[in-house]
Amino acid sequence: MSDEVTFVINGNEVVGTAGDNLIEACEEAGVYIPRFCHHNRMNPVGMCRMCIVEVDTGRGPALQPSCMLTVAEGMIVDTESDVTKKAQDGVLEFLLVNHPLDCPVCDKGGECPLQDQTMAYGPGESRFVEEKRHYEKPIPVNDNVFLDRERCILCDRCTRFADEVAGDPLIHFMDRGNETQINTFPNEPFASYFSGNVVQVCPVGALTAKPYRFKARPWDLDEADSTYPNAMGDRISVQASRDQVLRFQGVDSDAVNWGWLTDKERFAFEAYQGEDRLTEPLVRGGGLNEADPDGDELVGTSWSSALRSIAKAISDTEPAKVAVIGGSRLTNEAQYAWTKLAKGIIGTDNVDADMGDELPVHALLGLPRATIAEACQPGGTIILLGPDPKEELGTLYIRLRHAVREDGAKLIELTPSGTGLSSIATASLHARPGEVGAVARALVAGGATTDIGGVSADDINAAHGFLDGAVTVVLGRASLAESVTPTLEAADALAGIENARFLPAVRRANTMGALDMGMAPGLLPGRTTLDAGRAGFADVWPNLPDSAGADTAAILAAGLAGNLDVLIMLGADPIADALSATDAATALANIGTVVAVDVLANASTAAADIVLPAAAFTEVSGSHTNLEGRVSPVRQKVTPPGTARPDWMIAAELAGYLGSDLGFDEPSDIWAELAARSAVHGDITAADIEAADDGVLITARGRVSFEPPEGEVRVDPVDAYALRLVSARRMYDDGTIVQASPHLCGFAGAAELRVNSYDFNRLGVAAGQPVRVSSAVGAVEVGVASDDLVPRGVAVIDYNRSGADARNLFDLDAVSIDVRLESGA
């Protein structure tokens, strides 16, 4: 390669790449230079001066911070010279003069770079006899993160993270000189979805997180690298002591999350230890030893009794009247086991992991797929046709933000409202809900002459000019108040861009794994259809149904109509998540045997007849598939509480009660069967997944094809008195995990309706005052706020937050929904 350079580290010639950061090039060559401020995922600042080394670039050796230099031909680096050592020792002493000696009570003690460095190289005694700097300790910078300014060495890592990485510059340096401190602005907490990361990057114990404070010493923790069950498949380290998970830390995976996590993930471990945790099988009426023979409450029972009841209910009816919904929480292996049980043993195709709020299977599997890295490639073009990543896919937001800010990628927002990326978007085309298809067609065609879908021709044509690079579409559902058809129209139009690729922005954990495992009507494992894959599975899946079954909406409708006898919910909460709340609740009441297999109690488990406690992801082994199709390992760290079991094992046991045998003793048995039969997983063994740091990417397209909508949707114009509705999820909502996490539940505020200041002023109400919002089918009362990220003529209502159920406004047969607002409600 032409940019190869030869330089010298401590007398040894090393070949590197011109422009590489010197401190990292040295580390790659096996020479570690101590550092505090440098972080490989943030821009260098050269502030702590710890990494200062003697560098000769032809003008004689001079002390230079190695984090600020790039490798150049002929550079001579000496990290061990007397001058280097003296300078580094001096810097270490400076950092220690005001650093308190409270290591014995500091959470960082034992994993503290400053402590390690001092133990390794530092002086035995301090020459500093004066009074150290004192501050009140610690102070909260937000509800979960505490700052001890005495311990802080002012490395700028947390502040850089907040500004550069998270885009929430709410902590900053204050005062100057020796009085310099990190702090928040008065009355403005560090309200960031990503605040926990500053705790992880802090090189001393200055920043600590409330859920972990004083819980353990690092040397008492053991850890397992695992995958967080979110759509990004964030790589994490699960850290536990005495069989209890105490902390999640981000793992720096080049392909995925770069070490970052959202607070929603980082602090969620407590949910699995709380009182909402299901720890024993429950049954309505009867129970263990007939404890409650005539009762209507859920009472504890034994596994054998519960499973026998379920098996009997299944055996007593025909396969078509059995359905399985949910499963995106599960590992790939558990998904495969349950799909095999349902489709191959019981013989029903009424299996759907989607709660009706994702795009259809053919859109997620049938379009050319992109990886996260492809989406974020330098100089590329990203089209956001989906939800706000900052709210729904936190680490994807971080990756996209980095691509735009640091790597020259262009971002075109094709969203109904502004997002967390709007401030850095190259172009924002906020199509009126229902009309994004027309805007996308115009964007691809260019040369627009009139406004389309509420977007000006100039904006469309300007954005058209940015389609020159490699185009990746981040594809998902931006609004639950809009049917999927306009989004599919838009995807169809964008698919016409040469080499356009699609990154599915699904919101549930292992949705892509569920699709790969065939957890949808008409689908079989390996991205293939029931018909196309039948022959390959027939020998081990003897009872495969003849034709495609029902999706979640149809399953619930069948339940409402009395045409369903057994419903198994795998980590599903249709009462909270199905787009029609009343249908779900009524259906559950109507179905003879409703079985909930879940980790945490929720509204739907409370409505079930039999509840089976499942093990959480920290308690099972297996694998997870993220939105780009990357399979990475999920590793067990602790044992499940009570008698909770892994989901795959529950499926295997139930098969036994049904007189069958899934043939699985270990998760790896399941993967082996999958790999032997799936056209897309064939090359990959369980050992490959276990061995790969970044997981294994599945790139094969499979046999599912995108089905573009026929004709063009017609949307009636909005009348002058109405606003068009958008409904989207927020990071913190009334979801089960957030609500079960003591350090997160407080962030899920009441639902809010946001409108443009123009519409807000016309309304003539004070911010936060409730208004009555009514659509053709229903009405809610909700507090209203002014937000100029929302375009004129649009109203955005939070989904799944307390106070107002947005679903009351939804007409599921309509393409889009218009609402009227009345004040003084």
């Binding site: 502030m47 300078a87 003069v97 340096f173 005062d175």
Partner: protein
């Protein structure tokens, strides 16, 4: 040959700060001449003049002007008017007495280098100077010396006046740029942030001192050679020195650069007029608080950059601080170190922690709690900020502020260790503290 007054010619003109007074005394002739010349020719005159930068480093302005990468626009001129080195007060008077001369210099520089915009950064404390510059700018805009189509030509440039918020560190050019961008005034690292390449808003930026630019109108009007003919061969022209401390007649004096000696300026009747009260000279700081100190034996050195550099100090910002034999050197040293400790921006560890540690040790010694090992400790802490304590200084810091605090300590310990010993052994000063009359 009589030495002309180049930058201070209007200091005695009552209305020299107004447009009327400025034009009456020949103002804006340089700009008119420059606009008739090719931009490159104007730059050439400045190169010929060998005008050394007057901010501190003494780098030739003509060469600095050539550092802008070709073909990159926009590019900016930033005027460093954040004069805050203790003992330095020449720019303040230039701003107050002759603001149009600076404005003219700025416009000529922008013309010569094709600069897109000029930012005039004036120290927050210099309220009177700011008002004078603001008033002068308004006048200059009104008659078309600044703004669109200057003097009817195709050349247009705007000058933005920015008031600092009062931080010494902002006198450092990259910190000034940060401040101008609205950030905390903290220096950037060089490399890679050399302003000529990556400066204001990441664009090529020329940063010049107020006095440097105030020389430009005269150079363009009279030619670079006329400037080069004045003063020393290596340090041509005239230069303003500010003399303060224990002299009879403290003040600012424009002197022939490179030939005049320290003795001339400190002792000369036309200048500072000798040591107060007939006392003896004990020490003087030749170039602002950051400079290592000079003594009796250095008095006959010429005010010439190279000579002073070789003697182990610098002319810096042209501030000469004189101390007579009644001065307690330990306290004088503490006074300066305290200044640097307070003005440290806090960005890099050696300066943030080191300067305040030094200040605390000195305070402890003055309080009578010194220990014999403290001198060695002081010197070692200094060495960890400025390895080798050599001149010109090396540094473990980002910018020269940290090493600046080393200068007074090393100077005093080297020369007046006995005064430290008196504090440490007898727990009291060797020089009795007296009320000055």
């Amino acid at each position: 040959m009589t030495i002309p007054k180049i930058t201070t010619s209007r200091w005695d003109v009552e209305d020299g700060h107004t447009l009327a007074g400025y034009e009456r005394t020949g103002g804006y002739a340089g700009l008119k001449r420059a606009l008739e010349m090719a931009p490159e020719a104007v730059h050439g005159e400045v190169k010929t003049a060998t005008l050394l930068g007057r901010g501190g480093a003494g780098f030739p302005a003509g060469i600095k002007w050539g550092f802008c990468p070709p073909g990159v626009w926009p590019r900016y001129l930033v005027v460093n008017g954040d004069e805050s080195e203790p003992g330095t007060y020449k720019d303040r008077i230039l701003l107050e007495r002759d603001p149009h001369q600076l404005i003219e210099g700025c416009i000529i520089a922008c013309y010569a280098l094709g600069l897109s915009q000029c930012f005039l950064y004036v120290r927050g404390e210099m309220a009177h100077g700011q008002e004078r510059v603001a008033a002068a700018l308004n006048e200059a805009y009104q008659v078309g010396y600044v703004g669109k189509n200057i003097l009817g030509t195709e050349f247009s440039v705007d000058i933005v006046l920015h008031w600092g918020a009062g931080a010494y560190i902002v006198g450092e050019e990259t910190a000034l740029i940060e401040s101008l961008e609205g950030n905390r005034g903290m220096p950037r690292l060089k490399p890679p942030f050399f302003p000529a390449a990556i400066g204001l808003y990441g664009k090529p930026t020329i940063v010049n001192n107020v006095e440097t630019l105030s020389n430009i109108p005269w150079i363009v009007e009279n030619g670079g050679q006329a400037f080069a003919d004045i003063g020393g061969e290596q340090s041509p022209g005239t230069r303003i020195f500010a003399v303060s401390g224990h002299v009879n007649n403290p003040g600012v004096f424009e002197v022939e650069f490179g030939t005049t000696t320290f003795r001339d300026v400190i002792m000369g009747e036309d200048y500072a007029g000798g040591i107060r009260g007939g006392n003896d000279l004990k020490a003087f700081i030749p170039g602002g608080a950051s400079a290592p100190w000079f003594f009796e034996e250095h008095l006959d050195l010429p005010l010439e950059k190279g000579t002073v550099d070789r003697a182990g100090s610098m002319l810096g910002s042209g501030a000469i601080v004189v101390m007579d034999d009644s001065t307690d050197m330990v306290r004088a040293c503490h006074n300066l170190v305290r200044f640097f400790a307070r003005e440290s921006c806090g960005k890099c560890s050696p300066c943030r922690e080191g300067t305040s540690w030094l200040e605390k040790i000195l305070q402890r010694i003055i309080d009578g709690n010194g220990r014999p090992a403290d001198l060695e400790l002081l010197m070692d802490v200094c060495d960890n900020i400025s390895p080798g304590i050599s001149w010109p200084p090396k540094q473990t810091t980002i910018c020269p502020l940290g090493p600046s605090a080393v200068s007074p300590i090393s100077s005093v310990i080297e020369r007046f260790a006995d005064e430290f010993d008196a504090y440490i052994e007898n727990r009291r000063p060797s020089i009795p503290v007296e009320a000055t009359s």
